[in-house]
């Protein structure tokens, strides 16, 4: 029997990068096949080609043994291919039913569509209310919508792009059970991930991509996680080891007490009575599924939004809730948001200008409101040297750097301001493993030098590796922090879903 999907020699070039370099891949009917690789290896590009969103520069696609031309997602859908995207392709202001209708080829009258939606939802345990508007759905519900939308097309091949990055551990388990049921019914599944544990759990076979090429095709259950990691990254990646810290008796640096803030726009999250204390040299991790107030918390701490009560945020016992960004930076509170381009840095500006961007309140880069270009260049140059940023120069646009290098630059920019407190969100999102390890090492070194670090992350592995204590953020509320060594994955997963049966704090 021919493979359900076969790729031969797929090549795809973008300005400045060869994303796919002669990829061969085969997925059998009813097989769950993983596409493994670190960030930037070319996985998303490849599946977008399979789904017809992008056109390959060379190579063939075969469905059930026959070569096909995939010119658009319409072609893909007609051939029985469905895709759940990593960044949801949903329309916030429209209802669940309308979102489903937009993804289907044929025009089905709404009463019939609603009936089918409820029926498929019940069959796979993916219930949804058809008339709700999408902006009111939680992240887990939105993904359910993406999956159900695909299942309604009765696909023969289902592609899933990093589906668990936004789920709690329990939700991920539920998803795996659903996928197993779908595969058992004959649908092939192409499952993209960089998370080795779940691939070993779920998948029959795996194709490993590195630097745009296939380096291996394996059966994950027969391999060790370490082997898979080495194949994915190609070298030993030295992640730091954070020794268990004694926190008793350490001076508190940042105190947050009863911080409440209304949502700043209709789809935002309100912060409710957030309280925690951050000590000198400590790394406190904030866990949580995306969309539970992480952005709002970081902005409330950085000064982008002012707190209603000045005393709700204190540095060295001094109220700062009323101070703006510049004021807080001068007192030693630096922040780094999760969005690299457009928030933490500006793609169209040069590296030198991006260095000035966040450092001007705290370092002597200006005099009486006038910029000192030589001081700025010296600062930017030091960041590049000390943090191994690969760049042709300081005057290139930040957008021309790879994700990993830009992230090393912005993290270095904050570290070289010698902050008392550093609030950092998603520091290793979407970057390659080597750069991620470098960022981790830098953060650990920063904490060892005495800075208090608040690490907001959706990556539980990262938190368990680096954080001394972990607190879970859910719907704008913060569960009390717990010592990392006292906590387990199951309990955190429940808290991330808002459930905490044994309320306990350190």
């Amino acid at each position: 029997m021919p493979p359900r999907l076969e790729l031969r020699g797929i090549v795809k070039r973008f300005p400045g990068v060869l994303a796919n370099d002669g990829i061969d891949l085969a997925v059998a009917p009813g097989e769950i096949h993983a596409l493994l690789g670190e960030n930037g290896a070319g996985k998303s590009t490849l599946v977008k080609i399979v789904y017809g969103v992008l056109q390959p520069d060379a190579g063939e696609i075969l469905i059930d043994g026959r070569p096909v031309a995939m010119r658009s997602p319409h072609d893909a859908r007609r051939l029985g291919i469905a895709m759940v995207f990593q960044h949801f392709t949903l329309f916030e202001a429209m209802t669940v039913l309308e979102n489903v209708a937009l993804a289907l080829e044929d025009e089905i009258p709404f009463p019939e569509l609603e009936r089918r939606l409820l029926e498929v939802g019940a069959r796979y345990g993916l219930e949804l209310a058809p008339r709700r508007e999408v902006h009111g759905l939680s992240v887990g519900e939105r993904q359910r919508l993406e999956v159900v939308r695909c299942l309604l097309q009765e696909p023969r091949l289902l592609i899933m792009d990093e589906p668990t990055s936004v789920l709690t551990p329990q939700e991920a388990e539920a998803l795996f059970r659903t996928l197993a049921r779908i595969a058992a019914a004959g649908t092939s599944i192409l499952y993209i991930s960089h998370r080795l544990q779940e691939v070993v759990e779920l998948c029959d076979r795996a194709t490993i991509l590195r630097g745009g090429r296939v380096v291996a095709t394996v059966e994950p259950r027969r391999e060790r996680v370490e082997t898979l990691a080495r194949l994915m990254v190609g070298e030993e990646v030295r992640e730091p080891v954070r020794a268990p810290q004694r926190l008793a008796g350490r001076a508190p640096v940042l105190e947050v007490e009863g911080l409440s803030l209304p949502a700043d726009h209709p789809f935002g999250v309100a912060l409710r009575e957030i309280s925690f204390t951050l000590h000198r040299g400590e790394i406190l991790g904030i866990a949580g599924v995306a969309g539970n107030g992480q952005r709002e918390l970081v902005e409330a701490l950085s000064g982008e939004r002012l707190a209603p009560r000045p005393e709700s945020i204190r540095i060295h016992a001094r109220p700062i809730g009323h101070l703006d960004v510049a004021g807080r930076r001068r007192l030693g509170l630096c922040a780094l948001p999760e969005e690299r381009l457009g928030h933490a840095a500006v793609g169209e500006l040069t590296l030198a200008e991006n260095a000035l961007l966040s450092a001007w309140p705290r370092l002597a880069l200006t005099r009486l409101g006038w910029i000192r270009p030589r001081a700025v260049a010296a600062f930017a140059g030091e960041i590049v040297r000390r943090f191994d940023v690969r760049t042709p120069g300081l005057e290139v646009a930040a957008a021309s750097l790879s994700g990993g290098n830009l992230q090393k630059f912005v993290v270095g920019r904050e570290i070289l301001q010698h902050p008392e407190v550093l609030v950092v969100a998603q520091p290793t999102w979407g970057i390659d493993a080597a750069a991620a390890a470098a960022v981790h090492r830098d953060l650990v070194a920063l904490a060892e030098a005495g800075t208090a670090v608040l690490l907001v992350s959706q990556d539980l592995d990262e938190l368990f590796m680096l954080a001394d204590r972990i607190a879970v953020l859910h719907a704008g509320r913060l569960f009390p922090p717990m010592r990392t060594r006292d906590v387990d994955l199951g309990r955190i997963g429940l808290m991330m879903a808002g459930i905490d049966r044994e309320a306990e704090s350190v």
Binding site: V53, L54, L102
Partner: protein, 304 residues
């Protein structure tokens, strides 16, 4: 006709150019494009209608010419912003300046020429009803079109697949593209529609409202139409309400001058529509009902 009926009927007429232009721009903006060139398209439509009607003697040909002229200008705008990805605000301003200049140029020979008026079409039966009859059903064809557009668009946007796809392009163009919908083509079509209706709005001014050609005779109505779309929160039914409101302000201004509110100079009364626009924008902003299409004004570059 008694004075009340006459006033109401004239409000319906005064609202028509605003309705036509704003309805088209509403469709354009819901597809995610911001076309600020409405004033330019309206004026070009006005002169195209006037010139065609007077040279051919047939005002209906003038209507056709106006729609065509508006659509052509919108196509030019589309080329700049959809294919060449130029900044939409700047391109819209360029379109306005160009359209105003073009209309003055083409209209140079038509100043003072008497115009061909659009014939009045009384709807048989309905126009005989008391009050409602003369107010709503004794107008020309463009007024009826203006009244039919909001309900027609409401139906189109809510209930048809094409309308849904249009809304999707304005909400999340990347997602719409990823799902296989032709975002650029949808936006082009929306622009052509908006251009045509803006042209028709201009035609109404030069063929019905005041059958003359005067330079810059739209007097900012194109801009008011843009404000109306915001006031209506991008929903067709509220557009009707807004247009009637502004029609009312215009008529009030005219009659106040006539009724001898002499304490207030004529020019100050003329300020009313513009001040009302600002007031209305402020009110709608404060009410928190402002929900623009999420992709409005952002250029879309389909990945290949």
């Amino acid at each position: 006709m008694d004075p009340l009926t006459a006033v109401l009927a004239s409000i319906i007429a005064a609202a028509t150019p605003l309705l036509l232009a704003a309805a088209g721009e509403l469709v354009v903006e819901r597809s995610g494009v911001l076309n600020l060139g409405v004033e330019g398209m309206m004026l070009t439509g006005a002169i195209a209608a006037f010139a065609t009607a007077t040279t051919s003697g047939n005002p209906h040909l003038g209507i056709l010419a106006a729609a065509l002229a508006g659509a052509l200008l919108a196509l030019l705008f589309g080329l700049l912003t959809l294919t060449l990805l130029a900044n939409q605000v700047a391109s819209g301003l360029a379109l306005t300046i160009f359209g105003v200049g073009l209309s003055s140029l083409l209209g140079a020979g038509f100043v003072g020429v008497p115009g061909e008026r659009l014939p009045r079409l009384d709807i048989p039966g309905l126009s005989a009803w008391p009050l409602v009859g003369p107010v709503l059903f004794r107008h020309d064809i463009l007024v009826y079109l203006g009244l039919l557009l909001p309900p027609g668009l409401a139906l189109f946007l809510r209930r048809t697949r094409a309308g849904r796809i249009l809304r999707a392009c304005g909400e999340n163009a990347d997602a719409a593209h990823a799902l296989g919908h032709p975002v650029i083509r949808v936006r082009y079509l929306a622009l052509l529609f908006g251009g045509a209706t803006s042209g028709l709005a201009g035609a109404f001014l030069s063929l019905s409202y005041t059958p003359l050609w005067i330079e810059e005779m739209t007097a900012g109505r194109g801009w008011i139409a843009l404000a109306l779309v915001v006031f209506a929160s991008w929903s067709p039914w509220r557009l009707l309400l807004g247009a009637w409101l502004f029609g009312g302000v215009t008529i009030l201004e005219l009659h106040a001058q006539g009724l001898g509110l002499v304490a207030v100079p004529a020019q100050v009364l003329s300020m009313l529509p513009y001040l009302a626009t600002i007031a209305v924008l402020l009110v709608i902003a404060r009410s928190g009902r402002l929900r623009a299409p999420a992709c409005l004004g952002r250029p879309f570059h389909p990945p290949v």
